[in-house]
Amino acid sequence: MDSRVWDNRAWLFVVPVMAFVLFSSLIPMMTVVNYSFQDSMGQNSFFWNGPGWFQNLLDPTTAVGARFQGALLRNFAFSFTVLAIEIPLGIAVALCIPKSGWRVGAVLVAIALPLLIPYNVVGTIWQLFSRTDIGLLGVALGRSGVPFNVTQNAGSAWAVIVLMDVWHWTSMVALLCYAGLKAIPDAYYQAARIDGANRWSVFRNIELPKLRKVLVIAMLLRFMGSFMIYTEPFTVTGGGPGEDTSFLSIDLVKMALGQVDLGNAAAYSLVYNLITLTVCWMFFTYTTHADSKDVA
């Protein structure tokens, strides 16, 4: 006997959230979608362009397509580079943080400091730091004979941007790993001593496997952070020299706000968004899949 009452008024509770989502995401998003399928000559008159902007964007032989492909490849290269440095370095730093005593607090605060600095301040710090006339790094490198100039040399610009990201974000990886390491029960270390395992073996067979989940999260966060990065490299290099440090977001802002090329920019941002979502989804299915394998 089903005594439940058929009453859908409970949906009313969801209305505020729906309204919020509508104004914060759906309406702006649909505006972009509109632009991506239409062309405008101003005067608020639009005409249908079909998938034209998308074809343009995804075809590397066109000017816009070449720009997009260049920025995309640079962005993947940047994300890969910072992940390849920050993840191992973060693990190494976490292993060095003391496990108990007053030094824990001091070390954790010191490590967390870069995370508390606003993005554009980080950019400004490194921009000044790397200037060849007054910057400590720039002047020191110049005097020691290393060819270093962020505004003229792509290698220098990349080095500074990568170094800046490592400085800013390795702390987060280290803190996540530290939490993961703290969660390993002492019995594992004791058992490893009884079993005669050396330090490397303890790291390889206990610590690294136990950090797996934390590392997946750290990689996801750092991939997203570096893939959508804008403020810091823009403050340091403005995307230059030339296009050498123009990542997707920097290039997109140039196109949308600098050139007011709304159709191309709308298609650009939708494809950018889809790539981000796809990578997120891949990470998510990988982690959930790996977890379900544990239970089986």
Partner: protein
């Protein structure tokens, strides 16, 4: 393989104990003989895990010396002590297969591959893990994981001792019996010194040749299960071992008689060394206190617990003290007046919690 000697081993966390109470483990002298199975039994926080960790080297004692054979290993690190230890919760290496897990202690010590394979096969067979050898250890149940931990403890044939720290805590009750008897069989087969820490008396009594009962950082009695049951040297052993524990009654002793709540009880031994009328504690196990239809102390039964296999009566002696007594098979019992018989030979006399030996009466066992 050699015996392990505790030569005044004691431990105070933080070092420098001022009083007895500062010791987590009060200084103890004891020799663990090679090839025997021992249990360390006691409630939580009694120092038994500390003692175990001192033997394995995870804790360095603040006092005394630890000898493996004639070798002083007190300050030697764990990995150089040749000892195996199994912990309360399963510790497995996630990324390895069951076989690799079992082989790990041997691989780390550079044992030759054919010997490793043979030994792993042997241990896996003992623990019923043969079918799982190729599987990843991560996906197994807690039971199976703990079996792997046990296996890693047993896989080295040259260890001085295998230490178990409440290894069956996470195991399902039904499987506990099986694993316990398996461990016992493994002990017989491998002829290793095994020390087993537990707070479960059934586990201790079934596993061990000798049980060390610990309380408050002190080893209060070391003996065979039968000794602990029949002749507890300390009131703590009396009530901690046995279910329910020993009846402890306040009374006075005079020669071969005791006086409790106005009743006169004959004892199995005489205590001429104790002054007449001295206040003592008398201990008798419920198994030796029986309600009877014949002659006995007049008592009042206040409650009867039917445990299925046996019945226990709570009998008040009238002076505020009561005794848990066995109700014989077939005897009808209700709350109210009844008669109680205490086996004189099974009554022990305790002064300051410790048993006082009496002088045998002619024709009777103490």
């Amino acid at each position: 393989m050699a015996q392990i000697t505790l030569d005044g081993i004691g431990h105070a966390y933080g070092g420098d104990p001022k009083t007895e109470a500062d010791y987590a483990l009060k200084p103890i002298h004891h020799v663990w003989e090679a090839g025997k199975a021992y249990a360390l039994l006691g409630p939580s926080g009694c120092g038994k895990t500390t003692l175990l960790n001192i033997i394995s080297g995870l804790v360095i004692p603040s006092h005394g010396r630890l000898l493996f054979g004639d070798r002083d290993v007190t300050r030697l690190p764990t990995e150089r002590r040749n000892i195996a230890q199994v912990f309360q919760f399963p510790v497995i290496y996630d990324t390895m297969t069951v076989a690799e897990n079992l082989a790990f202690p041997l691989v780390n010590r550079g044992v030759a591959r054919p010997r490793i394979d043979a030994r792993v096969g042997e241990i896996a067979a003992m623990l019923d893990l043969t079918a799982d050898l190729k599987r990843r250890a991560r996906g197994l149940t807690a039971d199976a994981k703990q079996k792997i931990s046990l296996g890693r403890g047993l896989v080295r044939s040259d260890v001085s001792a295998v230490l178990f720290d409440e290894p069956l805590t996470v195991i399902d009750p039904a499987l506990k019996w099986e694993l316990r008897s398996k461990l016992k069989a493994v002990h017989r087969a491998l002829d290793l010194l095994m020390i087993y820490v537990t707070h479960d008396q059934v586990e201790a009594l079934t596993f061990a040749d000798k049980v060390v009962v610990m309380n408050d950082g002190r080893a209060v009695q070391i003996g065979t299960p039968a000794e602990l049951f029949e002749r507890p040297e300390h009131t703590f052993v009396g009530y901690f071992i046995g279910s329910p524990g020993m009846n402890l009654l306040r009374g006075e002793v005079a020669g071969a008689e005791a006086r409790v709540d106005g009743h006169v009880l004959p004892l199995g031994a005489a205590y001429p060394a104790l002054p007449q009328g001295m206040a003592v504690t008398l201990g008798i196990r419920p198994d030796y206190a029986t309600l009877t239809a014949g002659d006995g102390l007049p008592v009042t039964v206040t409650r009867v617990d039917d445990l299925g296999r046996k019945r226990l009566a709570h009998a008040s002696l009238g002076g505020g003290q009561s005794v848990v007594a066995t109700v014989p098979h077939g005897m009808g019992v209700e709350t109210g007046p009844a008669r109680l018989r205490l086996d004189p030979g099974k009554i022990h006399v305790y002064v300051d919690e410790r048993r006082v030996a009496g002088r045998d009466l002619v024709g009777r066992a103490a």
